[in-house]
Symmetry: C2
Subunit: 82 residues, 2 copies
């Protein structure tokens, strides 16, 4: 069966996020009020063909560890959609 | 009050996603089996100070339209977290 998996990869909370800072500046320049912090990461969707939801989740976990997220700077969260 | 808002910005479904294609190739090279499609977008979290949840959502909507998403190539989804 085909499973849809979402992976969110975000910069670690303790680290500066220069891209987010730049976007925050842009939003304030555009006149948007109230925005206090912006953090930007990646949103990845995978379509995985696997025997079970658990197997699909394990593939997503391995993909995140091996390629998608850099644990020195980022954390990831996996969510099954269906 | 401070509201946390998540915005997911993804390439439109009808468009090619070269970054996703490259990552798919990388995953297959690493020996991961079963991955059929990869799409990559942005995941943005905003901290917004506003009077109500609706007001915060409206700021997020405006930010998405004016700066965060390019409607020619991307769609966005806003979700309140709390």
């Amino acid at each position: 069966m085909t499973y849809n998996v979402q992976i969110k990869v975000m910069p670690l909370k303790d680290l500066l996020d220069p891209q987010g800072k730049a976007v925050l500046g842009g939003l304030l320049n555009l006149g948007l009020k109230g925005v206090e912090e912006v953090r930007i990461g990646k949103h990845i969707t995978l379509q995985i063909d696997a025997d079970s939801e658990d197997a699909a989740k394990q593939v997503a976990e391995e993909a995140s560890k091996k390629l998608l997220a850099n644990p020195v700077m980022e954390f990831y969260e996996i969510e099954m959609i269906n």
